[in-house]
């Protein structure tokens, strides 16, 4: 089996998961339409890069524009790893962002409520 095909097969589930997550977030009203378009476009760009990797390499090689060797199995693993990391980072960023927002809100609300407690009761066990 062609290594380029293996690359596509390994990475397609990650790309589909990324696109699905973007749609779920949008449908749950947690993101805007503009951000949905940007995120889906980014994942489609990654998919297009994988699909066209072989024709682009063949084109460049046949015209003497590159002397590098064709994709090795190690390259396939490496690229899959990078895309997997990209997927994980985008998920973690969303979570950290949400957590940061909640912590800020909690700190804010706690400070306001504590300020409303009369000083005499603040020291009662």
């Amino acid at each position: 089996m062609s290594r380029y095909l293996i690359l596509i097969i390994l990475n397609t589930p990650l790309i589909l998961a990324g696109i699905t997550n973007s749609f779920v977030t949008y449908k749950l009203h947690r993101t805007s339409r503009r951000r949905l378009i940007l995120r889906v476009s980014l994942w489609l760009f990654v998919f297009a890069a994988l699909v066209f990797a072989e024709p682009v390499y063949n084109f460049l090689f046949s015209r003497g524009l590159t002397q590098t060797e064709a994709l090795s199995l190690f390259d396939v693993i490496q690229i899959t790893g990078i895309i997997f990391l990209f997927y994980i980072v985008s998920r973690i960023h969303a979570r950290v962002d949400q957590l940061e927002r909640r912590t800020q809100d909690l700190h804010q609300e706690l400070s306001i409520r504590l300020a409303d407690i009369p000083t005499s009761t603040k020291h009662q066990g």
Binding site: T25, R35, L42, S90, Q104, Q108, S111, I112, A115
Partner: protein, 238 residues
């Protein structure tokens, strides 16, 4: 005919280690605000100070909200405005705790806001730069230009701490950055919420103390970095 509700004004002063000046700032503002004849409250948000900022402000007659952790100027301002929103104030005004803003300028802004026509009023120090050092003028103009480049908002003084908020702005404005970059981010959020932003000229009072407490121009690079990061990440984030 239905009458407009009487304005209730909340003056918010975010403060960090300002014990030596906060008393005078609160007292000065109290005197001028009383003359306006409208119901008001002065709220000092002590952003985790290590000195007696909270006690001094309280003794001067302010309602003090103490942050458990130091969270930056943006965080302290957000807490103060959230308090104003929760307690039904119709107008809120923020000013710096280091005494660089004249209380007259704050009440001038409040009167302008009460007349209507704006949701967010910025007191601009750069409409009249008398008394400001060239370095400060350059730094602030630079950051206003960066704010224009990143967010497309044309304001002469994007970093001014003197801001007046309508009830609508209090309800709708939320920002994420906690440091000084919140000044620019707030304008961006206001633009996203289609709030009307206007400016009016104010005079900055630079004493040796306020000069020592003010932002270092080199901090501008951190602000720009943080704003760019926020702009890019938010394009892809949730």
């Amino acid at each position: 005919m239905r009458q407009e509700p009487k304005p209730r004004i909340c003056y918010v002063i975010p403060a960090y280690n300002e014990a030596s000046v906060i008393g005078d700032v609160v007292t000065g503002l109290n005197g001028i605000a009383t003359k306006l004849g409208q119901e008001f409250e002065i709220v000092v948000v002590d952003d985790g100070s290590k000195d007696a900022t909270a006690i001094t402000a309280q003794d001067a007659g302010a309602h003090v909200i103490r942050h458990i952790l130091n969270s930056g100027s943006g965080g302290a301002t957000a807490t103060g405005l959230s308090y104003a929103q929760q307690n039904g104030f119709t107008i809120a005004a923020t000013l710096d705790a280091d005494g660089q803003h004249a209380p007259d300028d704050v009440t001038k802004g409040v009167i302008l806001m009460a007349k209507g026509g704006a949701d967010l009023l910025i007191g601009s120090r750069l409409m009249n730069t008398d008394g400001m050092s060239k370095v400060k003028v350059l730094g602030n103009r630079g950051l206003s230009f960066v704010t224009y480049l990143i967010f497309g908002i044309n304001i002469t003084d994007s970093q001014s701490g003197m801001r007046i908020f309508s009830r609508k702005a209090l309800e709708q404005l939320k920002w994420r950055t906690a440091g000084y970059e919140f000044c620019s981010e707030m304008l961006w959020r206001a633009k996203q919420q289609r709030l009307i932003i206007k400016e009016y000229p104010i005079k900055a009072i630079y004493t040796d103390y306020s000069k020592s407490k003010g932002q270092n121009n080199w901090n501008a690079f951190n602000i720009i970095k943080s704003l760019l990061q926020r702009r890019i990440l938010e394009a892809f984030g949730e």
